[in-house]
Symmetry: C2
Subunit: 451 residues, 2 copies
């Protein structure tokens, strides 16, 4: 019974709870049982109060029993990365420098999740300052491998069936990469779609908040609750947002066309990954065209992201890290030291360049529905001392375009290998629709081969 609950998607679980087939309490207890059986190995949670999660679930059940109208996530537990504030748990940002920090209010995105009926289950492990230095989390597919970072615990908790949904953050590759390494769906929405108010701030230009799930429908379901205007995040816009959950299921008006883009960092891809992508592109036939992003134009994007991110982090965290001495990792201290050397002129040029890349790519989406590209150089690397290279994510973070990691391929040893789809700015619903079409198309192909 418990095992069956663990396999439910969030959409299924929300449906069952709404219809009264199961209670939020039963569902939450089943997830806690899964945590009890596997968390000691995986280490996905930084803060977890089982009684508090159950108390919320019971309150949700009582609310339903009183005949109230229910939100789309009513009674569904969600994990929150520990660099995102909640009023009921600590938020320690993966660093001893924030040990015991207790926010007095929810981040906007958490407020929105609660308003949609979610149970705020627990706080998931982030790397130090949501940067590179790893936390305790291991990859559920192979406990000797990294789950990726910085949203390590969010990706691992969903992959291990401890939660149907979790949220994380990305300033370079911190949602898309762990999603791929852990074999789940992860989305970095368009810059400005989800509020960052109450989230550890690295960079106004680069910071994004996004979800993890085990189905694409679930990504749409939770994105509906997360997206929208917040006067406390100046990059969100006071416009209506589409219905993402319905959007996922919309029929495509035309057969999508995908651009297979290897990007100027293609040389980083290992042999198995390169072959898997070439094969995927081949198998999709006319749907896919190969497109090069020319290095003279796009080749500086990685330096531009580094200049912006290091300077913004020197500004945001320079004081506390400077005071913290050895309590901060050398990696973080070195990056902030580099950031202090960036001139304002270089910083402003990099931000201008980022806008130009976004602008140049906007024409691109007149011809293609989405870009098909790797998430990472390969499967989750061995060892727990590093979280992998975000290079295949950097350009899409810098440009603010929406990106999804789809657990479509298998690499070395049968480990998950993510496929990244990148869509036009602000067209997140269209990207979800294109991604769903691709999933269906590949499933049909396989059936055809079998038959």
């Amino acid at each position: 019974m418990s095992a069956e609950f663990v396999e439910l998607t969030a959409t299924e679980a929300a449906g069952k709870i709404a219809r009264g087939d199961i209670s939020s309490e039963e569902y939450t207890r089943a997830l806690i049982a899964q945590v009890d059986s596997i968390e000691d190995n995986v280490g996905a949670f930084q803060h977890l109060d089982r009684d508090h999660a159950l108390a919320q679930a019971k309150e949700r059940d009582a609310y339903r029993a009183n005949g109230n109208a229910l939100g789309p996530l009513h009674g569904v537990p969600v994990g929150i990365k520990d660099c995102i504030d909640t009023s009921d748990y600590p938020a320690e940002n993966g660093s001893a420098l924030f040990a015991g920090r207790r926010p007095y209010k929810d981040a906007t995105v958490v407020t929105k999740l609660r308003a949609a009926g979610a149970v705020i289950f627990g706080k998931t492990v982030t790397t130090e300052f949501a940067f590179y230095h790893p936390g305790k989390t291991k990859n559920p597919h192979d406990l000797e491998r990294t789950p990726g970072g910085s949203s390590s615990g969010s990706a691992a908790s969903v992959a291990a069936g401890m939660l149907p949904l979790a949220i994380g953050t990305q300033t370079n590759g911190s949602i898309i990469r762990p999603a791929a390494f852990c074999g789940v769906f992860g989305m970095k929405p368009s810059h400005g779609l989800v509020s960052r108010a109450g989230v550890l701030s690295h960079s106004r230009t680069l910071d994004h908040v996004g979800p993890f799930a085990r189905s694409l429908d679930d990504i749409g379901l939770i994105l509906d609750a997360m997206a929208g205007y917040d006067e406390n995040d100046p990059d969100t816009k006071p416009y209506a947002v589409p219905d993402f959950h319905s959007g996922v299921k919309q029929k495509v008006p035309l057969t999508p066309r995908l651009a297979y883009v290897r990007t100027p960092v293609w040389d980083k891809a290992d042999k198995a990954t390169a072959e898997a992508f070439e094969e995927l592109a081949e198998s999709l036939g006319e749907i896919v065209q190969r497109v090069e992003l020319h290095a003279p134009i796009y080749g500086h994007a990685w330096d531009d992201l580094r200049a912006i991110m290091s300077a913004d982090m020197a500004h945001s965290h320079g004081k506390i890290v400077g005071r913290g001495g050895d309590a901060a990792s050398q990696t973080l201290r070195d990056f902030i030291a580099d950031g202090r050397k960036v001139t304002a002129a270089r910083y402003l040029e990099a931000i201008s360049q980022a806008k130009q890349y976004t602008h140049a790519l906007s024409d691109f989406f007149d011809h293609y529905d989405a870009i098909l590209t790797p998430v990472s150089a390969g499967v989750a690397p061995k060892g727990l001392g590093a979280t992998g290279d975000p290079a295949f994510c950097s350009l899409w973070t810098l440009t603010g375009l929406p990106a999804i990691s789809l657990p479509l391929l298998q690499g070395e040893g049968g480990l998950p290998l993510g496929v990244q789809l990148v869509g036009p700015m602000g067209r997140d619903a269209r990207l979800l629709r294109t991604a769903k079409w691709l999933l269906n198309h590949l499933a049909h192909d396989q059936e055809a081969e079998v038959a």
Copy 2:
């Protein structure tokens, strides 16, 4: 007849044109006659095509004769600072580096003025790059004195009766200071109220566009046409704006209370100015309270503005000025060289500080309707080699608060001495109402003294 036209306010002229008492052509001819009689001395215009101005006026008259509904500025000539693009004149930014530059479209604010019926009369002189190095303009009150800068021609043309209205820009003190030196009304609206798209860009944080006029009602009249959302200026907001022209005339609900703020740069004020302000504050009695802005909190604001402005200008103009050699002034080259040295961390800290000043001052406006403070150290300085010190304007530009210069006082030799009123963020209509109340209050006092 012509002389009578020259003394009309824009509100009066627009009324007469709308009623058919005068035509736009007659009015424009009268202004051209005034230009012919005085422009050789004042030098307010960079580009002026009399036939083009008359052609627009005739077109406006024909439009009215056809029974069309008229905009609020129908048939009224307006001067445009030469760092603001129009499709019908060059825009040379006061620099040989832009000689012969012909924009292919109007700045958003010019499009809006045309849509309100304005005649785009000509382009007014800006200092080099709208920075310090002066253009040819002289102060109409004393041809041996500076008109102030950088919106020198806009202020002087309105002061000399060559135009009823003109627009300029301010990144430090470039509207408020020349308005004061030339004895006219000038307004720097709240940051984000008027679009900067199509305007020479120094700094997204500091750049403002605002009007000059010979009455406060006229400031409201033209601000109605200038204000509002523009998707090409990311700091404008998609909200409705109030009716400023009506706002000016609104009765105040309570007797306003003003904070007389001498600011941390008070020592710069010359003796006559200091005395004039002490006297004004004294004469207003209980309406005014003296308030200190403490130097430990606000004293760094001037350095913060300089860091932001120099870094942003190094980014915006570093390349063209670097290539231009001697064609750029030493002042400009030195400032840009300083800007190149600013680190991104210092730049970002200064922007954070600016927000903190704005935030700290917002509480202030719970107690006071406006801040009463000098515009400048004194009357327009002698000599045409410099445009005066913007120090009394810097804090209000950095914080983005709306500010008006009122030609209320006289200084040395009977020359105009401006009084600056600063209002709460985004409450431009309220600031206009408070300013109007102050004008009326002082006029009544004088009448009372006379009687």
